[in-house]
Symmetry: D3
Subunit: 277 residues, 6 copies
Amino acid sequence: MHLMQFRSLVAAALAEDLSWGDITSDSIFTDEMGRAFITAKKAGVACGLPVAAEVFSQVDPCLDFTASFRDGQEIKPGDCLAELAGPLASILKGERTALNFLQRLSGIATAARAAVVAVAGTGAQIVDTRKTTPGFRLLEKYAVRVGGAKNHRFHLGDMALIKDNHIRGAGSIGAAVSRVRARAGFPLKIEVEAATLEDVRESLKAGVEVIMLDNMEVGLMAEAVRLVDGRALVEASGGITRENLQEVAATGVDLISLGYLTHSSPALDMTLNLVDP
Amino acid sequence: MHLMQFRSLVAAALAEDLSWGDITSDSIFTDEMGRAFITAKKAGVACGLPVAAEVFSQVDPCLDFTASFRDGQEIKPGDCLAELAGPLASILKGERTALNFLQRLSGIATAARAAVVAVAGTGAQIVDTRKTTPGFRLLEKYAVRVGGAKNHRFHLGDMALIKDNHIRGAGSIGAAVSRVRARAGFPLKIEVEAATLEDVRESLKAGVEVIMLDNMEVGLMAEAVRLVDGRALVEASGGITRENLQEVAATGVDLISLGYLTHSSPALDMTLNLVDP
Amino acid sequence: MHLMQFRSLVAAALAEDLSWGDITSDSIFTDEMGRAFITAKKAGVACGLPVAAEVFSQVDPCLDFTASFRDGQEIKPGDCLAELAGPLASILKGERTALNFLQRLSGIATAARAAVVAVAGTGAQIVDTRKTTPGFRLLEKYAVRVGGAKNHRFHLGDMALIKDNHIRGAGSIGAAVSRVRARAGFPLKIEVEAATLEDVRESLKAGVEVIMLDNMEVGLMAEAVRLVDGRALVEASGGITRENLQEVAATGVDLISLGYLTHSSPALDMTLNLVDP
Amino acid sequence: MHLMQFRSLVAAALAEDLSWGDITSDSIFTDEMGRAFITAKKAGVACGLPVAAEVFSQVDPCLDFTASFRDGQEIKPGDCLAELAGPLASILKGERTALNFLQRLSGIATAARAAVVAVAGTGAQIVDTRKTTPGFRLLEKYAVRVGGAKNHRFHLGDMALIKDNHIRGAGSIGAAVSRVRARAGFPLKIEVEAATLEDVRESLKAGVEVIMLDNMEVGLMAEAVRLVDGRALVEASGGITRENLQEVAATGVDLISLGYLTHSSPALDMTLNLVDP
Amino acid sequence: MHLMQFRSLVAAALAEDLSWGDITSDSIFTDEMGRAFITAKKAGVACGLPVAAEVFSQVDPCLDFTASFRDGQEIKPGDCLAELAGPLASILKGERTALNFLQRLSGIATAARAAVVAVAGTGAQIVDTRKTTPGFRLLEKYAVRVGGAKNHRFHLGDMALIKDNHIRGAGSIGAAVSRVRARAGFPLKIEVEAATLEDVRESLKAGVEVIMLDNMEVGLMAEAVRLVDGRALVEASGGITRENLQEVAATGVDLISLGYLTHSSPALDMTLNLVDP
Amino acid sequence: MHLMQFRSLVAAALAEDLSWGDITSDSIFTDEMGRAFITAKKAGVACGLPVAAEVFSQVDPCLDFTASFRDGQEIKPGDCLAELAGPLASILKGERTALNFLQRLSGIATAARAAVVAVAGTGAQIVDTRKTTPGFRLLEKYAVRVGGAKNHRFHLGDMALIKDNHIRGAGSIGAAVSRVRARAGFPLKIEVEAATLEDVRESLKAGVEVIMLDNMEVGLMAEAVRLVDGRALVEASGGITRENLQEVAATGVDLISLGYLTHSSPALDMTLNLVDP
């Protein structure tokens, strides 16, 4: 992630919390300096440290933020993720916003890592979806990568994904693919959502790059994979949970997309503590 | 919620998804009209319908969005939350963004409602925290209210909350309260975080409006409540889960703050389906 | 005031003055360096020096701005408020914008200080109102504090102020207060606007934190104060001028709100002069 | 004024007041409709009615705002400036912001009108300065025009104004004018600040379009006017008050610039009252 | 193009031209109504009519804009592209901005169409580049499509394009492709810039989707095309002009990218004329 | 140009190209450092180097950008315009955006210089128009100045230009000028568009500062110049090309405005090359 990609999100978050000042800290502290640690309270995958650094840097350029972990490393309860040094009031002003970023992103990275581990050894790759918190997609998809999974498309313009509504609109899979191909630039791949083996066959005939098996039974998935036989990427999608993940992977699909990574991962608990002088 | 409070968040969310166009829908549809339903797949509390309406209105002012539920009403699987009529391409362009708002907000409202129900009959009120998704606080706190819980402070400027770091900085609870009172306007209430009964006593002496019992054992909480005896509001905070909620409420505290409402509530599953013509 | 709270206002002000360049200075100067002083032409209270520093810093990071006074200190004609050193063209480009901030804010701080001094010895506290220049409220309320007065609420969301229109809408003071209490979070205080002693009595019964005596005669105010007898804060509001301020304070009210502080204070005259080399 | 020129300022002002909601009105009102009048409490010149209309329109497009006066018309205490009809909560949400605009702009227009009247019959034209509230210049200069006075330059790029600092930088008036002329486009007029008759002579020789007599005694001004003899516009500037305005005008200057119009005009008092049903 | 994609660009353009008002039109017109035509002065391809419509709609929602052509249609001198009806002042205020959009976009569409026509009958497709006017890319790439050509990637994130600098950085084409594949999501295609036939061979071996022949001689291009033999798309790039376009197309390449479409196309001349009443 | 005038345009341009990351460079490079040169491929006038510096500075504050030319200097093929040193990935991320600015601005400066040279020795000054790329006017007009030509008005508010539509609206040139003068501030000059000698006479009588000869034959222009005889500036406008420029200048007009400078100048070709280590 380039700083440019989250700087304004950090600014918006701080505006939300600080635009009317911090009446408590501003009343109590003047120039007192101090140090603080950000510590993990749960095990998981660290994510968002450069974002937290930016939070504190925007609050006060004089704050010194030193991360002890890099995004993607595993952490366990008690691990010190980062150390802060500088004006106490500034540390306290940035605390909540920094933790909000860190906990959410680490929660997603942790969930992604768990899914990746669960399918290790199969050829399946875990991918995310567009089911992200509005305004937060870039960071949430970054957390998915940090966890070791891959990104599906970022938005409605960087890949064509022909769903059943589009197919009905065009009349057939073939017709839909033709229309997209007539308009899209060559850099765009085309994926088709298939509900049946017949859909899979039509998609192959239309020459698409990716076929999404939408809410298929595991048995049917395996059959579809055999049918495709490497002529396109195969994505399993819909209703996949931590529980049936391995079973789905065992069907031989190339990609497994998981909405819960971004829409339902719990935050990873952390805390910020001042160090006694 | 006033439209003014979420209009630009909706715009940012749509920009994220649509600023490079929707290559699939734009290739396949021209002016085809259609209808669609947004349907619940899980039981819970509806929240975010005016936001979803705004999403579709920004995508296309010609779209007609009719909600069948109001925010705060309970929904069960299969309930139709809203109906859409208008250009098919516009419906599909707004689908994901609208659902992302609805699912997240309904997830929070559902969790809040469950907590409120859990403490019903006690005098305790469920409140939220500042542990919200950066940039999304206003909406997440709205969802908490829709669920029936109350909002704690919105930001660092609308209430003074003196935590242990502040107390140490000022030397004592009394000194900290004095400093805040010297600076704050009369509209601001003062809350102090108490770790011991001694802290509670000092806070009462300083005349604060609210006392937060931070991570106290349930037994100690009950003792603190008796000590305060109505002279201030008492808030239980820290480490409270769905499991121990009732036990905490039984201590007689006035307020129970729950971070998980906003940082770890899973999305409430919904779907948008086109209606066959 | 945190830099974050006025940085973009400064940017907007400079954009207004400089976005088409400074044809005069840019034609005449290239790299000439120089020094300048900002000097008071009238007596009053200095306010806005960190804002002026930010103005020059945005115009040119190479400019060196050194304040000789701190916000809140009294100044007299001829006092040098700050010294500038750096490129002459940059000094001249920032001059007007910096002075516009300084003069307006110092004008308000001066008026606030005068009011505070006028009621010294009574228990009354001077407070401001929401009658501020649109877009400038945060800074104007800061100037009020710098002058020694206190801030009333900042916006429509950080305190409930039930006015006669609300009372009529709800049917009675008691009903209005109940409705607000049912919705507002516990951090919010409730104030009621009272036109008669009967209103005061109802407000007390409803348990509000603050009672505003709206445009009452001084005699009636004193009676109201006696009636309240410490059970709520009492605010005098409406039609109070520099002339009758002391008389109002003598009634024993806790708070006196003055709209003129922010909507009609004249600017405090200052000037910027280059130092001869 | 084109709507485009103040729409975002109105949005910023409303954000300041309403971005955390209106807890009072939202608690008490649901859909109650009503009417209200905006009434003058002091005599003066109405200004800002289209801005007030935009305020209410942004708060709620369903509000109906009907002005009974046009900007520039004289009003007296009791005059109804505008009538509002629509949801009561919306009227109350926009009230303060609309009045803040109206009172400030009408205050400026009133002061401008008074100055224009004071010099009526002489050839002098009243003009404003750049001593405006940061961010508010466009509206404040509009109010000046509404009052009947004229605008001096809007920013540092739309006219060259060579002040003593520039003259010293260039070495002489002639040199300064040459440098500006070499760089500026032909649409820009050049004004020189003259402190002595010698400066005036040099300025004439350099062929400038306007000569500013800076803080000159009235007698010297008259002499300067005779010296210029119509070969350039002559502007009186600095230290001119309501008291000596006519005396200055009598010297025959073409322009009199008054900083106090925008930096020290008191607000013109107005009020908004709901109409009893 | 979705309105959402150019609305703010239109707003910025109008701000540039109109934020200080239109002193001429505002002085002369009050409410006079009129009609106007936008007429082509040169032959070409119309592009930007919805953008022009948005310009006038932002200037004045009362203006009625009726296009007589659709984007992509050919126009000849004298053709009336659109008719306007409404307040004369509003027509004149939007005139220049609307024409600036129309002329630039139509210029690009015209150049794109000419290139497409020039290679008609070959299998080559004309594509654009990222050599666009900063801030204007979305519209310029739209104009390219309107002209009948296709879009290459939109930005640095929607396709991987491995250039010689990247190859040297990674050590070899194979290594570079591996690194990208390890990080990129499956929706992204990979293109490699090849300077020699050996590069082409390596690229094929690495399994890339597109191979760019960078500044190759036409003879070498043809050889490369034969070598690739349909296993990847082949793009000709660099130094291609209107003159050698057909020769390049004849080599059998799939794509020809032309920077000049967006960085050097002359505007297509048009004019706006009021209709005599 | 002040940094403040193009900083946000640079940010917008980078957002367009980099807001979804640079998948290629980020995959291949980590911390490798390197150097690069920006080299001219065509002869012309350098323009935009401070803008390019800002591009790279926004991409990565650690990048070191050293220009070898100043804006306005002539360059020939092979000249190194600037040298870059720093992280390779950062150089590549900023490359395209920086070149897009440089090539466009240098293209305009080059065209302006050619026109200035073409009329050297005559008294005519080359000026630009408002026919600029929407959103890019400030920079394009800067490039015109860098080329040695002058700027016509920047927007609709900094000069009055009475065109035939305005004249018809007002009834006569005299009436139009009166209306503008009644409203405009004294800093604004007035220009009238004249189609005939009679128009020129009326304009002179109205005392305007500039007369635009609109699309006149060269012979008529010369006559108009004689008629004006120095009592106003005379501008030739409309249909002037590189070919007839000198002929127009020979008529004795003061100003020649050329739309093509900004709407049709081809980019000046440049390239960025990494230096082998």
